[in-house]
Symmetry: C2
Subunit: 209 residues, 2 copies
DNA sequence: AAGATGATCTTTACGGCGTCCAGATTCAGT
DNA sequence: ACTGAATCTGGACGCCGTAAAGATCATCTT
Protein backbone atom coordinates (compact mmCIF):
# COMPACT_ATOMS: atom_id res chain seq x y z
CA UNK A 1 0.00 0.00 0.00
CA UNK A 2 2.60 2.52 -1.00
CA UNK A 3 1.81 5.88 -2.52
CA UNK A 4 0.63 4.48 -5.89
CA UNK A 5 -2.93 5.82 -6.06
CA UNK A 6 -2.86 9.35 -7.40
CA UNK A 7 -6.23 10.06 -5.79
CA UNK A 8 -4.84 9.03 -2.43
CA UNK A 9 -3.17 12.33 -1.82
CA UNK A 10 -2.31 11.38 1.71
CA UNK A 11 1.47 11.41 2.00
CA UNK A 12 3.35 9.02 4.24
CA UNK A 13 3.69 11.82 6.70
CA UNK A 14 0.34 13.28 7.58
CA UNK A 15 0.30 17.03 7.64
CA UNK A 16 -1.02 17.53 11.16
CA UNK A 17 -2.03 14.17 12.53
CA UNK A 18 -2.49 15.46 16.04
CA UNK A 19 -5.15 17.85 14.87
CA UNK A 20 -6.71 15.18 12.64
CA UNK A 21 -6.90 12.70 15.52
CA UNK A 22 -8.65 15.13 17.82
CA UNK A 23 -11.13 15.97 15.08
CA UNK A 24 -11.71 12.30 14.34
CA UNK A 25 -12.31 11.64 18.03
CA UNK A 26 -14.86 14.43 18.26
CA UNK A 27 -16.56 13.19 15.11
CA UNK A 28 -16.80 9.67 16.52
CA UNK A 29 -18.01 11.01 19.83
CA UNK A 30 -20.91 12.77 18.17
CA UNK A 31 -21.89 10.01 15.78
CA UNK A 32 -21.20 6.80 17.71
CA UNK A 33 -21.25 7.86 21.32
CA UNK A 34 -18.62 7.64 24.04
CA UNK A 35 -18.47 3.83 24.26
CA UNK A 36 -17.34 3.58 20.64
CA UNK A 37 -14.43 5.92 21.22
CA UNK A 38 -11.44 3.57 21.11
CA UNK A 39 -7.95 4.61 20.16
CA UNK A 40 -8.06 2.18 17.28
CA UNK A 41 -11.36 3.54 16.03
CA UNK A 42 -9.97 7.07 16.13
CA UNK A 43 -6.92 5.98 14.16
CA UNK A 44 -9.19 4.20 11.69
CA UNK A 45 -11.34 7.30 11.32
CA UNK A 46 -8.24 9.37 10.68
CA UNK A 47 -7.07 6.81 8.11
CA UNK A 48 -3.95 5.83 9.95
CA UNK A 49 -2.49 2.75 11.62
CA UNK A 50 -3.44 1.83 15.22
CA UNK A 51 -0.01 2.74 16.55
CA UNK A 52 0.34 6.08 14.83
CA UNK A 53 -1.34 8.12 17.59
CA UNK A 54 1.45 7.18 19.98
CA UNK A 55 3.77 9.63 18.25
CA UNK A 56 1.46 12.48 19.26
CA UNK A 57 -0.08 11.30 22.54
CA UNK A 58 1.49 9.33 25.37
CA UNK A 59 -1.58 7.12 25.62
CA UNK A 60 -5.31 7.10 25.08
CA UNK A 61 -5.85 9.24 28.14
CA UNK A 62 -3.78 12.07 26.70
CA UNK A 63 -5.85 12.07 23.52
CA UNK A 64 -9.02 12.28 25.58
CA UNK A 65 -7.45 15.09 27.61
CA UNK A 66 -6.94 17.03 24.40
CA UNK A 67 -10.56 16.46 23.39
CA UNK A 68 -11.75 17.47 26.84
CA UNK A 69 -9.62 20.61 26.68
CA UNK A 70 -11.43 21.74 23.57
CA UNK A 71 -14.71 20.99 25.28
CA UNK A 72 -13.87 23.26 28.19
CA UNK A 73 -12.78 25.99 25.82
CA UNK A 74 -16.07 25.78 23.98
CA UNK A 75 -18.00 25.88 27.24
CA UNK A 76 -16.06 28.93 28.38
CA UNK A 77 -16.90 30.67 25.12
CA UNK A 78 -20.58 29.88 25.39
CA UNK A 79 -20.73 31.19 28.93
CA UNK A 80 -18.86 34.34 28.00
CA UNK A 81 -21.42 34.96 25.29
CA UNK A 82 -24.33 34.19 27.62
CA UNK A 83 -23.04 36.61 30.21
CA UNK A 84 -22.41 39.34 27.69
CA UNK A 85 -25.82 39.15 26.09
CA UNK A 86 -27.79 40.22 29.15
CA UNK A 87 -27.91 43.48 31.00
CA UNK A 88 -29.19 42.83 34.50
CA UNK A 89 -27.13 40.81 36.92
CA UNK A 90 -30.01 38.49 37.58
CA UNK A 91 -30.44 37.72 33.90
CA UNK A 92 -26.72 37.15 33.55
CA UNK A 93 -26.75 34.56 36.30
CA UNK A 94 -29.70 32.76 34.83
CA UNK A 95 -28.18 32.86 31.37
CA UNK A 96 -24.95 31.39 32.70
CA UNK A 97 -26.74 28.46 34.29
CA UNK A 98 -28.93 27.83 31.28
CA UNK A 99 -25.95 28.02 28.92
CA UNK A 100 -24.08 25.49 31.02
CA UNK A 101 -26.85 22.92 31.05
CA UNK A 102 -27.67 23.54 27.43
CA UNK A 103 -24.07 22.80 26.52
CA UNK A 104 -24.24 19.51 28.41
CA UNK A 105 -27.51 18.64 26.71
CA UNK A 106 -26.26 19.45 23.23
CA UNK A 107 -22.88 17.74 23.67
CA UNK A 108 -23.57 14.89 26.08
CA UNK A 109 -20.68 12.71 24.97
CA UNK A 110 -18.19 15.55 25.05
CA UNK A 111 -19.46 16.67 28.44
CA UNK A 112 -18.90 13.19 29.78
CA UNK A 113 -15.37 13.02 28.48
CA UNK A 114 -14.62 16.36 30.10
CA UNK A 115 -15.54 15.13 33.57
CA UNK A 116 -14.22 11.60 33.11
CA UNK A 117 -10.78 12.98 32.34
CA UNK A 118 -10.94 15.23 35.36
CA UNK A 119 -12.03 12.45 37.64
CA UNK A 120 -9.15 10.26 36.57
CA UNK A 121 -6.83 12.92 37.89
CA UNK A 122 -8.95 14.02 40.88
CA UNK A 123 -8.60 17.49 39.49
CA UNK A 124 -10.29 19.86 37.10
CA UNK A 125 -8.12 21.43 34.38
CA UNK A 126 -6.55 24.71 35.44
CA UNK A 127 -8.10 26.77 32.69
CA UNK A 128 -11.54 25.81 33.96
CA UNK A 129 -11.14 26.95 37.50
CA UNK A 130 -8.20 29.33 37.71
CA UNK A 131 -7.91 31.12 34.38
CA UNK A 132 -9.49 34.54 34.16
CA UNK A 133 -12.10 33.92 31.48
CA UNK A 134 -12.93 30.48 32.85
CA UNK A 135 -16.50 29.44 33.47
CA UNK A 136 -15.82 29.41 37.20
CA UNK A 137 -14.52 32.96 37.23
CA UNK A 138 -17.40 34.18 35.10
CA UNK A 139 -19.87 32.94 37.68
CA UNK A 140 -17.80 34.29 40.55
CA UNK A 141 -17.44 37.72 39.00
CA UNK A 142 -21.12 37.90 38.25
CA UNK A 143 -21.88 37.02 41.85
CA UNK A 144 -19.70 39.95 42.89
CA UNK A 145 -21.64 42.14 40.50
CA UNK A 146 -24.77 40.84 42.18
CA UNK A 147 -23.62 42.20 45.49
CA UNK A 148 -21.46 39.49 47.00
CA UNK A 149 -18.62 40.85 49.07
CA UNK A 150 -15.37 40.18 47.18
CA UNK A 151 -13.47 40.66 50.44
CA UNK A 152 -15.19 37.71 52.04
CA UNK A 153 -13.30 35.30 49.85
CA UNK A 154 -14.54 32.12 51.49
CA UNK A 155 -18.22 32.98 51.16
CA UNK A 156 -17.68 33.99 47.58
CA UNK A 157 -15.92 30.74 46.75
CA UNK A 158 -18.64 28.78 48.51
CA UNK A 159 -21.36 30.53 46.56
CA UNK A 160 -19.57 29.97 43.27
CA UNK A 161 -18.95 26.35 44.12
CA UNK A 162 -22.60 25.92 45.03
CA UNK A 163 -23.63 27.34 41.67
CA UNK A 164 -21.21 25.09 39.85
CA UNK A 165 -22.43 22.00 41.68
CA UNK A 166 -26.05 22.90 41.07
CA UNK A 167 -25.50 23.36 37.35
CA UNK A 168 -23.49 20.17 37.03
CA UNK A 169 -26.06 18.16 38.94
CA UNK A 170 -28.87 19.47 36.80
CA UNK A 171 -26.84 18.85 33.66
CA UNK A 172 -26.41 15.21 34.58
CA UNK A 173 -30.00 14.66 35.69
CA UNK A 174 -31.38 16.39 32.66
CA UNK A 175 -31.24 13.36 30.38
CA UNK A 176 -33.07 10.95 32.68
CA UNK A 177 -36.52 10.21 31.41
CA UNK A 178 -37.93 10.45 34.93
CA UNK A 179 -38.19 14.17 34.38
CA UNK A 180 -39.86 14.02 30.99
CA UNK A 181 -43.36 14.47 32.36
CA UNK A 182 -42.23 17.52 34.31
CA UNK A 183 -40.66 19.03 31.22
CA UNK A 184 -43.88 18.43 29.32
CA UNK A 185 -46.05 19.81 32.09
CA UNK A 186 -43.93 22.96 32.23
CA UNK A 187 -43.86 23.38 28.49
CA UNK A 188 -40.38 22.31 27.44
CA UNK A 189 -36.75 21.91 28.40
CA UNK A 190 -36.11 25.58 28.92
CA UNK A 191 -38.96 26.05 31.34
CA UNK A 192 -37.86 22.99 33.27
CA UNK A 193 -34.34 24.40 33.58
CA UNK A 194 -35.54 27.74 34.85
CA UNK A 195 -37.97 26.05 37.19
CA UNK A 196 -35.24 24.03 38.83
CA UNK A 197 -32.85 26.99 38.99
CA UNK A 198 -35.54 28.98 40.72
CA UNK A 199 -35.40 26.56 43.60
CA UNK A 200 -31.64 26.56 43.86
CA UNK A 201 -31.35 30.12 45.06
CA UNK A 202 -28.20 30.55 43.03
CA UNK A 203 -28.83 31.31 39.45
CA UNK A 204 -31.83 33.36 40.49
CA UNK A 205 -34.00 32.61 37.51
CA UNK A 206 -36.85 34.98 36.96
CA UNK A 207 -39.50 34.10 39.48
CA UNK A 208 -43.04 34.30 38.37
CA UNK A 209 -45.42 35.14 41.01
CA UNK B 1 -22.64 -14.15 53.52
CA UNK B 2 -21.83 -17.44 51.91
CA UNK B 3 -18.13 -18.16 51.66
CA UNK B 4 -16.28 -19.43 48.65
CA UNK B 5 -14.36 -22.53 49.63
CA UNK B 6 -10.89 -21.78 48.34
CA UNK B 7 -9.75 -25.34 48.87
CA UNK B 8 -10.40 -28.22 46.48
CA UNK B 9 -13.60 -28.60 48.43
CA UNK B 10 -15.52 -26.47 45.99
CA UNK B 11 -18.31 -28.41 44.32
CA UNK B 12 -18.89 -28.23 40.61
CA UNK B 13 -22.08 -26.31 41.19
CA UNK B 14 -21.52 -23.22 43.24
CA UNK B 15 -24.14 -22.74 45.93
CA UNK B 16 -25.30 -19.27 44.97
CA UNK B 17 -23.02 -17.94 42.29
CA UNK B 18 -25.18 -14.95 41.52
CA UNK B 19 -24.78 -13.69 45.07
CA UNK B 20 -21.07 -14.56 45.07
CA UNK B 21 -20.49 -12.63 41.84
CA UNK B 22 -22.15 -9.50 43.13
CA UNK B 23 -20.11 -9.70 46.33
CA UNK B 24 -16.93 -10.26 44.36
CA UNK B 25 -17.73 -7.27 42.19
CA UNK B 26 -18.28 -5.03 45.21
CA UNK B 27 -15.07 -6.30 46.78
CA UNK B 28 -13.11 -5.51 43.61
CA UNK B 29 -14.77 -2.14 43.33
CA UNK B 30 -13.59 -1.15 46.79
CA UNK B 31 -10.08 -2.54 46.55
CA UNK B 32 -9.10 -1.98 42.91
CA UNK B 33 -11.39 0.79 41.75
CA UNK B 34 -13.92 0.93 38.92
CA UNK B 35 -11.46 0.55 36.04
CA UNK B 36 -10.38 -2.86 37.31
CA UNK B 37 -13.93 -4.16 37.34
CA UNK B 38 -13.97 -6.54 34.39
CA UNK B 39 -16.30 -9.48 34.05
CA UNK B 40 -13.29 -11.76 33.91
CA UNK B 41 -11.81 -10.25 37.05
CA UNK B 42 -15.08 -10.73 38.88
CA UNK B 43 -15.24 -14.36 37.78
CA UNK B 44 -11.63 -14.82 38.87
CA UNK B 45 -12.35 -13.26 42.25
CA UNK B 46 -15.30 -15.60 42.66
CA UNK B 47 -13.11 -18.55 41.70
CA UNK B 48 -15.02 -19.44 38.59
CA UNK B 49 -14.46 -19.58 34.83
CA UNK B 50 -14.84 -16.43 32.68
CA UNK B 51 -18.02 -17.69 31.06
CA UNK B 52 -19.79 -18.81 34.22
CA UNK B 53 -21.43 -15.43 34.95
CA UNK B 54 -23.42 -15.73 31.73
CA UNK B 55 -25.69 -18.26 33.37
CA UNK B 56 -26.79 -15.64 35.90
CA UNK B 57 -26.52 -12.37 34.00
CA UNK B 58 -27.28 -11.59 30.38
CA UNK B 59 -24.10 -9.59 30.05
CA UNK B 60 -21.69 -7.44 32.01
CA UNK B 61 -24.21 -4.63 32.14
CA UNK B 62 -26.71 -6.75 34.01
CA UNK B 63 -24.14 -7.64 36.63
CA UNK B 64 -23.37 -3.96 37.11
CA UNK B 65 -27.08 -3.27 37.32
CA UNK B 66 -27.31 -5.69 40.21
CA UNK B 67 -24.39 -4.03 41.97
CA UNK B 68 -25.91 -0.60 41.38
CA UNK B 69 -29.23 -1.82 42.76
CA UNK B 70 -27.59 -2.70 46.06
CA UNK B 71 -25.92 0.68 46.07
CA UNK B 72 -29.24 2.49 45.76
CA UNK B 73 -30.72 0.32 48.51
CA UNK B 74 -27.84 1.22 50.79
CA UNK B 75 -28.23 4.91 49.98
CA UNK B 76 -31.95 4.75 50.70
CA UNK B 77 -31.22 3.16 54.09
CA UNK B 78 -28.66 5.79 55.01
CA UNK B 79 -31.03 8.60 54.12
CA UNK B 80 -33.86 7.00 56.04
CA UNK B 81 -31.61 6.87 59.07
CA UNK B 82 -30.42 10.44 58.58
CA UNK B 83 -33.97 11.71 58.36
CA UNK B 84 -35.10 9.76 61.39
CA UNK B 85 -32.29 10.92 63.64
CA UNK B 86 -33.23 14.58 63.63
CA UNK B 87 -36.21 16.37 65.06
CA UNK B 88 -36.55 19.70 63.28
CA UNK B 89 -37.45 19.81 59.65
CA UNK B 90 -34.47 22.01 58.89
CA UNK B 91 -32.07 19.54 60.50
CA UNK B 92 -33.68 16.70 58.61
CA UNK B 93 -33.11 18.40 55.29
CA UNK B 94 -29.51 19.17 56.11
CA UNK B 95 -28.94 15.63 57.33
CA UNK B 96 -30.39 14.22 54.10
CA UNK B 97 -28.05 16.26 51.98
CA UNK B 98 -25.01 15.50 54.10
CA UNK B 99 -25.83 11.79 54.16
CA UNK B 100 -26.10 11.74 50.39
CA UNK B 101 -22.76 13.37 49.76
CA UNK B 102 -21.10 11.38 52.52
CA UNK B 103 -22.27 8.18 50.87
CA UNK B 104 -20.76 9.28 47.57
CA UNK B 105 -17.51 10.21 49.31
CA UNK B 106 -17.26 6.92 51.19
CA UNK B 107 -18.24 4.74 48.22
CA UNK B 108 -16.95 6.61 45.20
CA UNK B 109 -16.63 3.58 42.95
CA UNK B 110 -20.08 2.27 43.85
CA UNK B 111 -21.59 5.71 43.38
CA UNK B 112 -20.01 5.89 39.94
CA UNK B 113 -21.45 2.53 38.93
CA UNK B 114 -24.89 3.58 40.11
CA UNK B 115 -25.05 6.57 37.79
CA UNK B 116 -23.18 4.94 34.90
CA UNK B 117 -25.78 2.18 34.78
CA UNK B 118 -28.57 4.74 34.85
CA UNK B 119 -27.01 6.84 32.13
CA UNK B 120 -26.69 3.85 29.85
CA UNK B 121 -30.45 3.49 30.03
CA UNK B 122 -31.31 7.21 30.16
CA UNK B 123 -33.31 6.35 33.24
CA UNK B 124 -32.89 6.05 36.98
CA UNK B 125 -34.03 2.80 38.59
CA UNK B 126 -37.64 2.85 39.69
CA UNK B 127 -36.95 2.16 43.32
CA UNK B 128 -34.85 5.32 43.48
CA UNK B 129 -37.45 7.71 42.24
CA UNK B 130 -40.86 6.14 42.54
CA UNK B 131 -40.81 3.75 45.48
CA UNK B 132 -42.13 5.08 48.77
CA UNK B 133 -39.00 4.84 50.89
CA UNK B 134 -36.79 6.02 48.05
CA UNK B 135 -34.27 8.78 48.56
CA UNK B 136 -36.29 11.00 46.25
CA UNK B 137 -39.49 10.53 48.21
CA UNK B 138 -37.71 11.11 51.50
CA UNK B 139 -36.59 14.51 50.33
CA UNK B 140 -39.97 15.31 48.84
CA UNK B 141 -41.86 14.33 51.99
CA UNK B 142 -39.51 16.33 54.15
CA UNK B 143 -40.07 19.34 51.94
CA UNK B 144 -43.79 18.92 52.53
CA UNK B 145 -43.13 18.78 56.25
CA UNK B 146 -41.17 21.98 55.80
CA UNK B 147 -44.23 23.70 54.50
CA UNK B 148 -44.29 23.02 50.79
CA UNK B 149 -47.77 22.71 49.41
CA UNK B 150 -48.36 19.05 48.47
CA UNK B 151 -51.22 20.17 46.25
CA UNK B 152 -48.91 22.14 44.04
CA UNK B 153 -47.40 19.03 42.65
CA UNK B 154 -45.21 20.69 40.02
CA UNK B 155 -43.55 23.09 42.43
CA UNK B 156 -42.95 20.24 44.85
CA UNK B 157 -41.37 18.09 42.17
CA UNK B 158 -39.25 20.98 41.02
CA UNK B 159 -38.00 21.64 44.52
CA UNK B 160 -37.20 17.98 45.09
CA UNK B 161 -35.44 17.76 41.75
CA UNK B 162 -33.44 20.86 42.56
CA UNK B 163 -32.34 19.30 45.85
CA UNK B 164 -31.39 16.08 44.12
CA UNK B 165 -29.38 17.89 41.47
CA UNK B 166 -27.62 20.03 44.04
CA UNK B 167 -26.62 17.01 46.11
CA UNK B 168 -25.45 15.06 43.09
CA UNK B 169 -23.43 17.95 41.78
CA UNK B 170 -21.74 18.48 45.10
CA UNK B 171 -21.10 14.76 45.43
CA UNK B 172 -19.26 14.74 42.12
CA UNK B 173 -17.30 17.91 42.71
CA UNK B 174 -16.33 16.88 46.19
CA UNK B 175 -13.34 14.80 45.15
CA UNK B 176 -11.64 17.44 43.01
CA UNK B 177 -8.58 18.80 44.66
CA UNK B 178 -9.49 22.33 43.58
CA UNK B 179 -11.63 22.53 46.69
CA UNK B 180 -9.07 21.22 49.15
CA UNK B 181 -7.98 24.65 50.28
CA UNK B 182 -11.58 25.62 50.94
CA UNK B 183 -12.15 22.49 52.98
CA UNK B 184 -9.05 23.25 54.99
CA UNK B 185 -9.96 26.88 55.48
CA UNK B 186 -13.39 25.89 56.73
CA UNK B 187 -12.07 23.17 58.99
CA UNK B 188 -12.90 19.94 57.23
CA UNK B 189 -15.13 18.10 54.83
CA UNK B 190 -18.26 18.45 56.89
CA UNK B 191 -17.99 22.21 57.22
CA UNK B 192 -17.40 22.49 53.50
CA UNK B 193 -20.53 20.47 52.78
CA UNK B 194 -22.68 22.59 55.05
CA UNK B 195 -21.15 25.74 53.66
CA UNK B 196 -22.08 24.82 50.11
CA UNK B 197 -25.56 23.65 51.10
CA UNK B 198 -26.13 26.97 52.79
CA UNK B 199 -25.84 28.67 49.43
CA UNK B 200 -28.13 26.27 47.65
CA UNK B 201 -31.26 27.34 49.47
CA UNK B 202 -32.49 23.78 49.50
CA UNK B 203 -31.05 21.72 52.26
CA UNK B 204 -31.19 24.70 54.57
CA UNK B 205 -27.99 23.95 56.43
CA UNK B 206 -27.20 25.65 59.71
CA UNK B 207 -27.92 29.37 59.45
CA UNK B 208 -25.17 31.85 58.95
CA UNK B 209 -24.43 34.61 61.42
C1' DA C 1 24.69 17.03 -4.07
C1' DA C 2 25.05 13.26 -0.76
C1' DG C 3 24.53 11.40 3.20
C1' DA C 4 23.19 11.26 8.01
C1' DT C 5 19.70 12.06 11.50
C1' DG C 6 15.56 12.06 13.57
C1' DA C 7 10.59 12.36 13.15
C1' DT C 8 6.75 10.01 11.49
C1' DC C 9 4.11 6.03 10.10
C1' DT C 10 3.43 0.70 9.44
C1' DT C 11 3.72 -4.04 10.74
C1' DT C 12 3.64 -7.31 13.91
C1' DA C 13 2.91 -9.07 18.36
C1' DC C 14 1.30 -9.65 23.26
C1' DG C 15 -1.98 -9.94 26.87
C1' DG C 16 -6.59 -8.64 28.45
C1' DC C 17 -11.29 -7.90 27.48
C1' DG C 18 -16.56 -9.31 26.44
C1' DT C 19 -18.93 -12.90 24.49
C1' DC C 20 -20.34 -17.19 22.23
C1' DC C 21 -20.24 -22.30 21.64
C1' DA C 22 -19.52 -27.17 22.40
C1' DG C 23 -18.87 -30.31 25.89
C1' DA C 24 -18.64 -31.91 30.90
C1' DT C 25 -20.88 -32.27 35.30
C1' DT C 26 -24.52 -32.18 38.51
C1' DC C 27 -29.39 -31.58 40.05
C1' DA C 28 -34.48 -32.61 39.97
C1' DG C 29 -38.35 -34.97 38.69
C1' DT C 30 -40.11 -39.22 36.97
C1' DA D 1 -32.33 -45.49 37.37
C1' DC D 2 -33.28 -42.48 33.40
C1' DT D 3 -33.98 -38.27 31.35
C1' DG D 4 -33.80 -33.43 30.74
C1' DA D 5 -32.59 -29.07 32.41
C1' DA D 6 -29.47 -26.23 34.91
C1' DT D 7 -24.83 -25.11 35.80
C1' DC D 8 -19.90 -24.85 34.99
C1' DT D 9 -15.41 -25.50 31.99
C1' DG D 10 -12.37 -24.86 28.02
C1' DG D 11 -11.53 -22.91 23.91
C1' DA D 12 -12.27 -19.65 20.32
C1' DC D 13 -13.25 -15.06 18.03
C1' DG D 14 -12.64 -10.28 17.38
C1' DC D 15 -11.94 -6.24 19.72
C1' DC D 16 -8.99 -3.38 22.72
C1' DG D 17 -4.48 -0.65 24.52
C1' DT D 18 0.22 -0.73 23.97
C1' DA D 19 5.12 -1.86 22.82
C1' DA D 20 9.08 -2.92 19.61
C1' DA D 21 11.24 -3.00 15.23
C1' DG D 22 11.37 -1.77 10.54
C1' DA D 23 10.01 1.42 6.58
C1' DT D 24 9.64 6.04 4.79
C1' DC D 25 10.32 10.80 4.56
C1' DA D 26 11.95 15.87 5.81
C1' DT D 27 15.63 18.36 7.11
C1' DC D 28 20.22 19.59 8.35
C1' DT D 29 25.17 19.07 7.74
C1' DT D 30 28.96 18.95 4.94
Amino acid sequence: MREAAATDNRPYHHGDLRRALIDAARRLLETEGPTALSLRAVAREAGVSPAAPYHHFKDKGELLDAVAHEGWDLLNELMTAARASHASVRDKLTALGVAYVRFARDNPALYRVMYDCSRDKDSLPDHVHAQNDSAYCQVRDTLVEAGADPMDEQELELATTAAWCAAHGLAEMFSFKQFDHLKDALGGDEAFLRGVFEHMGIFGAAHHG
